[in-house]
Symmetry: C2
Subunit: 72 residues, 2 copies
DNA sequence: TATGAATACAAATTCAAA
DNA sequence: TTTGAATTTGTATTCATA
């Protein structure tokens, strides 16, 4: 499996965050993998930082990653 | 040391978050203690949840807790 | 420069207990 | 119902490696 470049991977992460509530980096790793994109938690952590993503509280006490408005 | 009630403690936490960038719950525990308020990380974690606080990215790559606008 | 594995660090939750 | 101690879970960073 050809390793996707960083920009493409980050774009996919952004899309994933919009599509569903995601509460952990491990979950992102899984979703990417299901999409054929291999990356570890360390990489996802760095991607989220570069994307400016933050973990916010969702009604119900759960948390989910979200992109800042200006990044959408 | 008279233990401060939960509402008072949460209010203090809110003020602390406004006064300075705070990047960890341990730091909140310390600041409260400096103020004579004893609480553990577990309690601070619950307080932040009840306050709706989130950890956001600050320019420079650091993170800081913040209250949602509507809670101010 | 980008990455992963391992580690260090931070936060949420469990489980008593009062 | 609230809390703290201990634990589990999650995230950032370090340290190689390419």
């Amino acid at each position: 499996m050809a390793t996707l470049g960083k920009p493409q991977r980050q774009h996919r992460i952004g899309r994933l965050l919009e599509e569903q509530p995601i509460s952990s980096q491990a979950q992102i790793v899984e979703l990417l993998a299901a999409d054929g994109v291999v990356a570890t938690q360390a990489t996802v952590s760095r991607d989220l930082e570069e994307l400016g993503a933050v973990k916010v509280r969702i009604p119900g006490g759960t948390m989910a990653y979200a992109l800042p408005e200006f990044a959408k």
